[in-house]
């Protein structure tokens, strides 16, 4: 019979069935006729024939198995049957599907995040031929640097020409732009300065107008043209095609929009979505000229020419890179530490694949996301074994049905298929729900990756990769939780099950390892989560050395004030005015806010000591800054307005760490050191041998600079001569209420100033521990889910055990066993399983903690607290889950129990 006719048979099942019935009916009637002819009564004849035929059902089942594409037909039937069974146990099914959907959804969300941030290639042509350049920085926090300056880039681009086409791409940071239809208001756009050949080398085509070309990137300041991303065009301009030719103000130029890139291209940095691109030549003239060699502001990408290997390109570029550094080293001060200069000269240039795009966000979240992925996979395993538990328990209840089906001739394979179909139904419903959950959870996690003022963007579309992953997970869970109960169901011994005995020992044997696994997995999750939570809590309790409460930070646009002199004067006026406002508890300026991400390090020279490679941090602050920030002065004085006058350049305040690091004591008021200066600053009358003398006038308690984890770095505070970020400490509990007043009053007092951005110091500090927060929140959540699932599993297994042993318990009670003995009997084997699970879980947790350790803060995996917390949590939940079944066991009435069955 051809496959086609078999398939036709499946679809026309009723016709085949009718034929089959016809054939059998003929046989039966002929047989009865023959018996009648022999003189047997009709009744007896019918009985004999029926006996001979056995069950007609079985006959049909066996016959049709061969007539049809067996599995396809039986599959349809099993699906129908499975749905019926699942509908019957609605609560059980709903619980199983919900827990599974949650776990699968979390896994899909984790996968799509990891895929979008780390795995998926850039949507450009031939991404595998794309490279980017980097070099080691020899700094513990950021092991590799990939920012370059324009003079070096120009030379490398020329030298690399035969092997690789290089192009520069600046960081996609948010910058202010003013669009004519925006009512003169600043708008924050994510803009990138890029080389004119970028679009061509990436193979990007325009959706509208034209893209940037090499001819748009020739003369500094001469190419005020911009290309919009498709997403920005849709969002900001509603996809209006007449946007071409419109102008906007950006970086002190009037830019003209010349085109829109095709949809789907959001830049070369996964994690950020670029709004518009402008030529590198439109960056400040300073950055592009020879003095720009100090200014690393963009990444260098390259497309390898056909047949060229990355190593070949590296060799050529390394030569240029090293030559450039040698030339630069000639301008270094003769007293610069030799080892540092040597390292500078010997720094290797690395050529990395840029197939998936270098990304700052990836650097921060690579490890946290993998940790998260492990946690959610463990939760999926817990959920799967839970469902397996439930299915096994139910299979036990269905023993009679199974053995009936077996005895009327159903094949064991068919029974296994039946159970697998049921679990596949569960899994596919859970998968579909999981995709929905992931569609909600994924974007929510993306929002947690970056502060709302500088949002992250990840393309979490539902593509074939995500669907394939979801399908794979569904298949895996089906096998994972379906197989144990399927094998068990099919191993039913028909006779025993029908008589009401037997088959149960196997149930208990299958349930126990599953329970141990569950306990183990949930302990691992709990352990990892409690490490991350403890670590996060400790981080939030870190004293930064200043008070972050009620401190408002206002960024000022000072471009309308030209001279530095004027700026310094304006600063004093501004502070005077703001300090007198009601509800203000202090105001000060500094060059930038702490924890903002900016930092200034500078080498120093201590009289009588060898120059050191180590560079302390610096921060320019106005008078009143230490008071406003509540930093503690330990010795000496703070800055006064006199300190910021010109020709008073020497006062400096240091923290304890600085004093200890460079003077081995904290009593350093009156001591001095030199700070190398160059350019305009070196022309001051007080500078000797290129060193600006710095006299320590005060010592303050350590305060952190940009990160909570590290101890406060040695820091020197110097007077700020000019404007910067305005710090205002509000007198009321709600500092943000002060913001509109300040925004209104400041331009009124000083018309040249404009407030461009307002934030809170506490927000900046919270933003600095976003990845820790993400990990703590999510792993905590999943630990609770895992614990809950384990509790359900335990409850189920115990309840099952009590039901199974009702008879035995009844006998024991009848023989005089006290309730406590009964409870102990029921719990005994569960406890050993729990102990096994806990030991295995601790082992797994400790193994995993080596991977987590890198993100922990002042938490040791082997701490008593780190170990006790998860174990106690698990035990408490286990006891709670065990109480109801244990009570049921204790209440077993011997009379009822013995009459049972």
């Amino acid at each position: 019979m051809s496959l086609l006719s078999r398939l036709v048979n499946v679809l026309r099942a009723s016709k085949v069935e009718r034929d089959l019935d016809d054939e059998l009916r003929f046989h039966i009637e002929a047989r009865i006729d023959a018996l009648l002819a022999k003189g047997v009564t009709r009744q007896a004849a019918e009985a004999q024939v029926a006996r001979q035929f056995g069950s007609r059902l079985r006959l049909r089942e066996a016959s049709r198995d061969v007539k049809l594409v067996a599995w396809l037909e039986s599959l349809l039937k099993d699906v129908r049957f499975g749905l019926r069974v699942l509908r019957k146990d609605l609560v059980l099914t709903a619980a199983a599907v919900a827990s599974l959907a949650l776990a699968i959804g979390a896994c899909i969300a984790a996968f799509s995040l990891i895929d979008a941030l780390m795995l998926r290639p850039l949507p450009v042509s031939a991404p595998d031929r794309l490279v980017y350049l980097a070099y080691p920085t020899y700094e513990p926090g950021s092991p590799e640097g990939d920012w370059f300056n324009y003079p070096l880039f120009q030379r490398m681009r020329e030298a690399g020409q035969p092997h690789v086409d290089l192009f520069g791409v600046s960081y996609p940071s948010l910058r202010a732009a003013i669009f004519p239809d925006g009512g003169g208001q600043d708008e924050r756009v994510r803009a990138q300065f890029v080389s004119g050949n970028m679009f061509e080398l990436l193979g990007i085509t325009p959706a509208l107008g034209r893209l940037l070309a090499p001819s748009d990137d020739v003369m500094p300041g001469a190419h005020a043209v911009a290309v919009l991303s498709h997403a920005f065009w849709m969002r900001r301009f509603g996809g209006n095609p007449r946007v071409i030719g419109r102008t906007f103000t950006f970086y002190e130029h009037q830019f003209q929009i010349v085109g829109v890139a095709h949809a789907g291209f959001t830049g070369t940095e996964p994690g950020r979505s670029t709004d518009l691109w402008v030529p590198t030549m439109m960056h400040s003239a300073e950055a592009l000229g020879p003095e720009g060699a100090d200014w690393n502001w963009f990444r260098v990408f390259g497309r390898l020419r056909p047949g060229v290997r990355a190593e070949q390109a590296q060799a050529v570029l390394q030569a240029t890179f090293s030559t450039f550094r040698q030339e630069r080293a000639r301008t270094f001060r003769p007293d610069d530490p030799r080892d540092r200069t040597e390292r500078y000269l010997e720094t290797p240039l690395r050529v990395h694949s840029a197939a998936n795009g270098p990304s700052e966000l990836r650097r921060t979240f690579e490890r946290p996301l993998w940790i998260l992925a492990i946690v959610v996979s463990l939760v999926l395993l817990i959920a799967s074994s839970n469902v397996a538990n439930l299915l096994i328990a139910r299979a036990a209840a269905r023993e009679r049905e199974m053995s009936l089906r077996l005895s009327i001739g159903a094949g064991r394979g068919r029974l296994i298929q039946q159970v697998l179909v049921e679990s596949a139904l569960l899994a596919s419903v859970a998968c579909v729900l999981g995709l929905l959950i992931a569609a909600i959870v994924g974007p929510a996690i993306v929002n947690m990756l970056a502060p709302s003022t500088d949002p992250a963007y990840l393309d979490l579309r539902l593509d074939w990769r995500v669907l394939a992953f979801a399908g794979g997970i569904g298949l895996m869970t089906t096998v994972l939780f379906g197989l144990p109960s399927a094998l068990r169901a099919s191993s039913v011994a028909p006779m025993g099950a029908l008589k009401g005995t037997g088959g149960r020992v196997t149930a208990r044997l299958t349930l126990r390892p599953l329970l141990a696994l569950q306990v183990g997995f949930s302990l691992v999750v709990l352990f990892v989560a409690s490490l991350l939570l403890l670590s996060f809590l400790r981080l939030t309790r870190v004293d930064p050395g200043f008070s972050q409460d009620r401190v408002l930070l206002l960024s000022l646009d000072t471009s309308a004030i030209g001279e530095d002199q004027e700026k310094a004067r304006a600063a004093l006026q501004l502070l005077d005015r703001v300090q007198q406002m009601p509800a203000v508890d202090g105001a000060a300026l500094s060059q930038w806010a702490l924890f903002e991400g900016s930092a200034w390090t500078n080498s120093i020279r201590i009289p009588g000591r060898e120059p050191e490679a180590f560079e302390p941090f610096f921060l320019s602050i106005s008078p009143g800054y230490l008071e406003t920030m509540r930093m503690r002065l330990l010795e000496g004085r703070t800055f006064t307005p006199r300190d910021i006058e010109p020709d008073q350049p020497t006062a400096v305040i240091v923290n304890q760490a600085f004093a200890r690091r460079f003077f081995d004591t904290t009593h350093v008021v009156g001591r001095s050191f030199g700070r190398p200066v160059s350019g305009e600053a070196a022309k001051s009358s007080v500078v000797r041998d290129g060193l600006l003398p710095q006299e320590i006038v005060g010592v303050i308690a350590d305060a952190k600079y940009g990160n909570l984890r590290d101890p406060a770095p040695p820091t020197a505070y110097v007077p700020l001569r000019g404007l910067g970020t305005l710090h205002v400490r509000a007198a009321s509990e709600d500092p943000l209420a002060l913001a509109p007043i300040l925004q209104r009053e400041i331009p009124r007092a000083l018309p040249a100033l404009r407030v461009t951005n307002v934030t809170l110091q506490s927000t900046l500090i919270a933003n600095s521990i976003l990845s820790e927060r993400l990990l703590a929140l999510l792993s905590g959540f999943f630990a609770i889910v895992g614990l809950l699932l384990a509790a359900i599993g335990l409850y189920g297994v115990l309840s099952y055990a009590v039901v199974q042993r009702t008879r035995e318990i009844g006998i024991r009670v009848a023989l005089g066993a006290r309730p406590i003995i009964v409870i102990r009997t029921v719990l005994a084997h569960i406890l050993s399983v729990m102990a096994l699970g806990i030991i295995a879980g601790l082992g797994g947790g400790l193994f995993l903690s080596r991977f987590v350790e890198a993100v922990l803060y002042e938490v040791q995996p082997l701490d008593a607290l780190s170990l006790a917390l998860p174990v106690c949590g698990l035990l408490v939940v286990a006891v709670l889950a065990a109480v109801p079944p244990a009570r049921r066991a204790a209440r077993v009435d011997p009379v009822v129990a013995l009459r049972y069955e």
Partner: protein, 110 residues
Amino acid sequence: MMKRHDSLQGALPLLVLKILLRRGPLHGYGITLHIETMSDEVLRVEEGSLYPALHRMEEAGWIKARWAVSEHKRRVRMYEVTAAGRRQLEAEEGRWHAVTGAVAHVLKHA
């Protein structure tokens, strides 16, 4: 409880093929009758096994079936042996003789 006669499945196809080859196209009931009469009622064909066996043999291509009308004007399904069935019969017959011969040998000399 009824047990499944898996053992019969070895011999049943052999008998069916032989009967069909000797007597030409037959329906299922006819096959049963022939086996029973020819074995002097010693072999009783389990009807529960016959039809699955017939369909399996049809699947395997040893026999083919068509619908016909019987002498009593009933719709019946007639089976006949195919060329593949004939080859199968030869092989099966040879093996059957080998097995039964061996069994007889053991019975006689054990």
